[in-house]
């Protein structure tokens, strides 16, 4: 199909990418992040945001160079999303400032009142009988009206509403979660809306700024996190035999999607195409994949088929690659099942080895990196790969970036609750 076509193999509007924005622990903007990612630099460090005494995991890829007030997960998530969206919308040069002519699909972390606020409420009323704090007291403190703004701050729809307000997106903004595949789902929803002809453009964002004591401890209690705190930059070891869990990360990414027809008509620079999306649920277990990998296989196959491609067309995989023993094994199994023996030669690397697992944002972050990989013809490495795992006989682009012409990237995202979402991103229409 020629690069001038505006529809895909099924006659649907072809979906182009015309703007990208990125912020992670490695820095702000595409250039800073790309430089660090291809230098094999880690953004993971000791957590200084809160005391880590007594914690089994004391490291994360927090974004410490962005302020948020009052400091809490939704405020940081909003600020990170705003930075990423500013960069993406500016690059796309679509619409006027504050007047983005498209829908907003936003992967946002679940929010709730945090310990800072809970403590403030507990201290706002005199202790009851015996000095025991009760929820009745917290409710009394809330009823004073002194903490009025916190209701909106900790409502689920607020972050997306504020981003919609700031960028002037069209329609009711979507706040979504598919756990650790949320960012990819935001892109998928944008692709679908453009294919339906409902909108000509979409702003798709994934954001997460949730490294706080309770969320870190929750993941820690599920034994999901690496405990190799020293040195921090060596903790995330996707695909290595000595991998021992993921490292939490923060960040945001934004993509401006447009129908190729609209993008070409306005002479926009097209950075690539989202050619296909695949998804599949898994009813096996709340945190573990079906042992046969069937849902992962179905999601990968779904993305390839949706794009009108064959598995042989994939020439690089941007891995989910969390660095947990389970994920990396199942991801490799799924890929080997679909791509067969050829998978031994197809390079695959994990951005999470450097930026950690940006959770809600990860699918969007990695979609942006996939597009940068296509643009630069260079593969970011999987760092900390010192001990190969014989069960994962893959080319993980160990430790050092490599030049490689990439036409089609498969970007994988898998999450708790049986969420499997794969994107097929291409340099040109299929």
């Amino acid at each position: 199909m020629a690069a001038t076509s505006t529809v895909d193999h099924q006659g649907r509007p072809l979906v182009a990418v015309t703007g990208l924005g990125l912020v992670t622990s490695l820095g702000r903007g595409q250039a800073e992040n790309w430089g660090a990612l291809t230098a094999g630099r880690s953004g993971i460090h000791a957590v200084t945001r809160f005391p880590t005494d007594g914690l089994r995991t004391r490291i994360a890829g927090t974004v410490d160079f962005v302020a948020a007030e009052p400091f809490c997960a939704p405020a940081l998530a909003e600020r990170l999303a705003e930075l990423a969206a500013e960069e993406a919308v500016e690059q796309a040069a679509l619409g006027r400032p504050g007047d983005f002519p498209g829908a907003l699909f936003m992967a946002v972390p679940p929010v709730e009142v945090e310990w800072t606020q809970r403590r403030a409420l507990a201290e706002a009323v005199p202790p009851g009988g015996g000095g025991e704090v009760t929820y009745a007291e917290l409710l009394s403190a809330a009823a004073t009206g002194r903490f009025h703004d916190w209701h909106d701050l900790f409502s689920f729809g607020t972050v997306a509403d504020r981003i919609a307000d700031r960028f002037g997106t069209v329609g009711s903004p979507i706040s979504l979660s598919t756990a650790c595949s949320s960012g990819a789902t935001a892109v998928q929803l944008g692709v679908e809306a453009i294919r339906r002809g409902e909108v000509e453009a979409a702003l798709c964002i994934g954001t997460d700024g949730s490294v706080n004591p309770e969320s870190l401890i929750r993941f820690s209690l599920l034994s999901a996190l690496s405990t190799q705190n020293d040195p921090p930059d060596a903790a995330a070891k996707p695909f290595a035999k000595n991998r021992d869990g993921f490292v939490m990360g923060e960040g945001a990414a934004a993509l401006v999607l447009e129908s190729a027809a609209a993008a070409r008509a306005r002479g926009a620079r097209i950075l690539g195409y989202v050619l296909g999306c695949g998804e599949r649920g898994d009813g096996f277990h709340r945190t573990r994949s079906s042992p046969d990998g069937a849902p992962i296989v179905a999601a990968i196959r779904g993305a390839i088929a949706d794009a009108g491609l064959r598995s042989d067309d994939i020439d690089y995989v941007n891995a989910h690659g969390t660095g947990t023993p389970e994920n990396d094994k199942m991801e490799a199994l799924g890929l080997m099942t679909v791509l067969g023996e050829r998978m031994r030669e197809v390079p695959i690397s994990s951005n999470k080895s450097m930026i950690g697992h940006t959770l809600t944002a990860a699918g969007a972050v990695e979609a942006v990196v996939s597009l940068l990989t296509i643009a630069h013809g260079r593969l970011p490495p999987t760092i900390n790969y010192a001990v190969p795992d014989p069960a994962i006989p893959l080319d993980v682009v160990p430790n050092v970036a490599r030049d490689h012409r990439v036409r089609h990237v498969l970007s994988n995202s898998f999450g708790f609750g049986g969420q499997n979402t794969c994107l097929l991103i291409g340099a040109e229409p299929a």
Partner: protein
């Protein structure tokens, strides 16, 4: 864009009034007699979920133990919807079925919160104390009972609905948008059959806390949502779950399923300003082509500005229409409120009590939505 017909072929509901369409149809027919819990969270009342036999829809005790109340309500209602659509024993269809869930987050462990807050009052090193107590006191599985997308995850596990799921968050608006995008995907041929809905557990102090912060909870004796603005306004939360099986007419015909109602394209707006809620609802009503004599199931919350605005807008748009405030029957079920309204609309249409029903949703803070359903011949 013209689309395919989208049918409702199954519904499931559980609320303070009970489960299934019948108790709700009775309540809609008669004077509202809400069932309230007024003691447990005084001065705030809630509409508590009716007792149900969880095992009927969640057979494994191990699954029940892994879920908190909001998830159980949702999984239970989803099971009722699958039963109603004749799909409970159709693993093939369920394995292709897509899922859109409207959800917030799950409940906290109140006792743990309070113990830690008590200890923090005197802790020499609060940071270290918080770390130590959270590490030792949080149940590892509680996280999975809190995560927004784990209602969908549990529906996949318990009912085998494994096409793929997406969870929309964001209070009332996400319930409307879940229906909107599901309808649009089926109408456009992007999906054939979907399970859509949500659930909410009002019987927990942390949920009340969130609303108490902004003074939005009704504190007086029960009054209709329409009468509350005159006394300052306020909402009464309700526990419940509601799911619908949506299906292309072709798909339903192929499997010989009877449609209960037709779901028109769903309308929604960001509607961030309470003073414009009436104008926004009016715009959605006109765009939807709703008839002036449609039966209206209002999702009005009782919060002053929005409720007054909706009341005035409906009086102008449909002066002769019968308007039921769903909140007066079952309380405000937040994310689940639009799906719950759509389930009740389907019940009325299937029972031939109306030919067209419009479900409104004007959020307590933002978001306006309109869900229009029509009866089938």
């Amino acid at each position: 864009m013209t689309g395919r017909d989208v049918l409702v072929t199954g519904t499931g509901i559980v609320s303070s009034l009970g489960e299934g369409p019948e108790p709700h149809l009775v309540a809609l027919a008669g004077p509202a007699q809400p069932r309230l819990e007024t003691e447990r969270f005084a001065p705030y009342a809630v509409h508590p979920a009716a007792a149900v036999e969880w095992g009927l829809q969640i057979p494994k005790k191990a699954d029940q133990r892994q879920m908190e109340a909001w998830q159980k309500l949702g999984v239970y209602a989803a099971g009722l919807a699958l039963d109603s659509a004749g799909l409970k024993d159709d693993p093939d269809t369920k394995s292709r079925m897509q899922l859109v869930v409207a959800a917030g987050g799950g409940e906290r462990d109140d006792a743990v919160d309070c113990q830690i807050l008590t200890g923090l009052r005197t802790a020499a090193d609060p940071g270290a104390y918080l770390n130590e107590r959270l590490t030792s006191d949080l149940r590892p599985t509680l996280f999975l009972a809190q995560l927004s997308n784990l209602l969908a995850g549990n529906i996949a596990i318990v009912h085998g609905v494994t096409g793929a799921s997406r969870t929309f968050m964001g209070e009332e608006a996400c319930g409307v948008d879940a229906l909107r995008i599901a309808q649009a995907r089926i109408a456009a041929g992007q999906a054939e059959i979907m399970l859509v809905g949500g659930s909410y557990n009002a019987e927990r102090p942390d949920a009340l806390l969130n609303f108490a912060l902004s003074g939005l909870l009704w504190r007086s004796a029960f009054a209709s949502v329409w009468d509350r603005p005159a006394a300052g306004g306020g909402l009464i939360l309700g526990s419940g779950g509601a799911f619908l099986v949506l299906e292309s007419a072709e798909h339903a015909a192929r499997r010989g399923a009877a449609g209960l109602a037709r779901l028109a394209p769903v309308r929604s707006m960001r509607s961030p300003r309470p003073d414009e809620a009436g104008a926004d609802l009016t715009r959605l009503w006109r765009e939807s082509g709703a008839a002036a004599d449609a039966l209206v199931l209002s999702g009005a919350t009782g919060v002053s500005a929005q409720t007054s605005a909706e009341h005035a807008a409906l009086a102008a748009l449909a002066p002769d229409a019968t308007v039921h405030a769903v909140g007066d029957l079952v309380g405000h079920t937040l994310e689940a409120s639009a799906p719950l309204g759509a389930v009740l609309a389907t019940a009325l249409l299937a029972d031939r009590q109306a030919g067209e029903v419009v479900v409104t949703s004007v959020g307590h803070r933002r978001g306006a939505g309109l869900v229009r359903l029509t009866g089938l011949p």
